[in-house]
Symmetry: C2
Subunit: 252 residues, 2 copies
DNA sequence: AGTGTTTATCGTCAGGCAGACGCCTATGAT
DNA sequence: ATCATAGGCGTCTGCCTGACGATAAACACT
């Protein structure tokens, strides 16, 4: 039975990426500057069209690699292989979200360690890591006091949803290790939680919690003093992906 | 600047619905029988094309109303208005998921009380509530011993994801009340948890937990004996949507 | 009327976990 | 040597949960 193209309206399908990292004790997202209308010159989330023969996850991984050079690892793969965590976030399909045409965007959330420098088509001035506070301060002012235009399209909403997903998910999963290098200390992991939640945590209780949860952290045997002070044990992410009981976000 | 239709491949966008309810102490999902190829005669999740001027949530609410007569209420509205809970679940876009053409499906999850009788275009034989165990028993056998064909397309995966979402979400939210009539007893709410999780819960500890969580339940003053035994207090869902600390699913 | 069954509701107790916080340890900087 | 910094261990208290005893209020029998 042939299918009837007039039976349904055609859509463009894109993937948009919320790429989060922790830099200088702040949760930052990758933003790219738009080179063409609409919203020319404004900051937006990286993204692009899904190709005809591509799965959604493949498209998101391809865009992530194009923008950052990061390899997304398979969700089924062990957490401590290199590369970023990538998961589907939500889909946005308001008929008016793109003034040109009907676009449905499948947003994805990626978590990466600090290392990579942005590279949007090789032009560094068109991509940057910006604190999410700054990107979400609609019509507010940036770090240097200049007024900041809100993100293009509905990307502020997408970013807010991605940030909330990350904030809640590190409560009950070992996902926070995706923000860390392959080997890290308990203090570095704690600073990740503090940056993502924007709170201060008790170092002693945090240490007790993460080292006392079986399968969460695996000691590598090494130590480091890269944070100053007494040498700290190095750990890798363990096999446990679910934290039970969860790490509780302090009340506000 | 005119847009170039050759710059991206056209997609069909659909919504598929995982509609869950609790019947006879079992978690059930709405299934419809396919009237045309592919997968003709097989059971599938209800769904349909998103229209040209429709938001994704609108399309899902429209399909839900067409299939069940249920009104989806606004997520921002209070939980105790009538109608079903509806939220976006995930999006499925494998290039081969529909053999006819490239279809991206935005799956939604709906939770409804037991009351409604299925009606798929008025033909009851083409729609039914089936225990999720049965629908997910790929190639297994149904309640009456007959072999059951697996759901069409990737709908088994979608259903499994929806069930898992419901199972985890009632842990930390008041969503389980969406399975209940507007007024319900603590015991009825407990039987919802037991059906969704497929476990037995201690009635006394459950009672202590839900009545002790501020804002979760609001007594209406009435009582009922519709479950037999001693009369039970009736409650409505309170304003609290987040349960903190969460209701813990017993270990297996 | 009495007895059993069912469901609801209140109470008790022990164990586990989290928050608050004291204290010692091991480095680098001055 | 002394200080500053960060890591790591222990203690105490209060809250929550799981296990389970006991009572209460309805209905169905006999």
């Amino acid at each position: 039975m042939p299918y009837d193209p007039s039976a349904f309206p055609p859509f463009a399908v894109t993937v948009d990426l919320v790429v989060l990292t922790v830099r200088r004790h702040a949760l930052c997202a990758l933003a790219v500057r738009r080179g063409e209308p609409p919203f020319q010159g404004r900051w937006a989330l990286p993204g692009g069209f899904v190709r005809a023969d591509e799965d959604l996850a493949q498209a998101a991984a391809r865009e992530l690699a194009e923008e950052t050079g990061l390899q997304a690892h398979d969700p089924a793969a062990p957490v401590h292989d290199h590369g970023a965590h990538l998961e589907q976030l939500a889909t946005y399909g308001d008929p008016k979200r793109d003034p040109r045409m009907r676009v449905v965007s499948v947003a994805h959330l990626a978590l990466a360690p600090d290392l990579p420098a942005p590279r949007a088509g090789g032009d560094a001035s068109n991509a940057r890591w910006a604190p999410v506070e700054e990107l979400l301060a609609q019509g507010g002012y940036g770090r240097d006091g200049e007024p900041v235009a809100p993100l293009a399209f509905d990307h502020a909403q997408i970013l807010a949803d991605g940030v909330e997903r990350a904030r809640s998910k590190i409560e009950y999963s070992s996902l926070a290790t995706a923000f860390c290098p392959p080997e890290f200390t308990v203090g570095e992991l704690r600073r990740v939680y503090e940056a993502v939640w924007n709170v201060a945590l008790d170092p002693r209780n945090f240490h007790r919690k993460v080292t006392g949860t079986p399968g969460f952290l695996v000691p590598t045997g090494g130590t480091t003093t890269r944070q100053g002070g007494r040498p700290a044990q190095l750990f890798r992410a363990g096999g446990a992906t679910l934290l039970n009981p969860p790490m509780l976000r302090p009340e506000v």
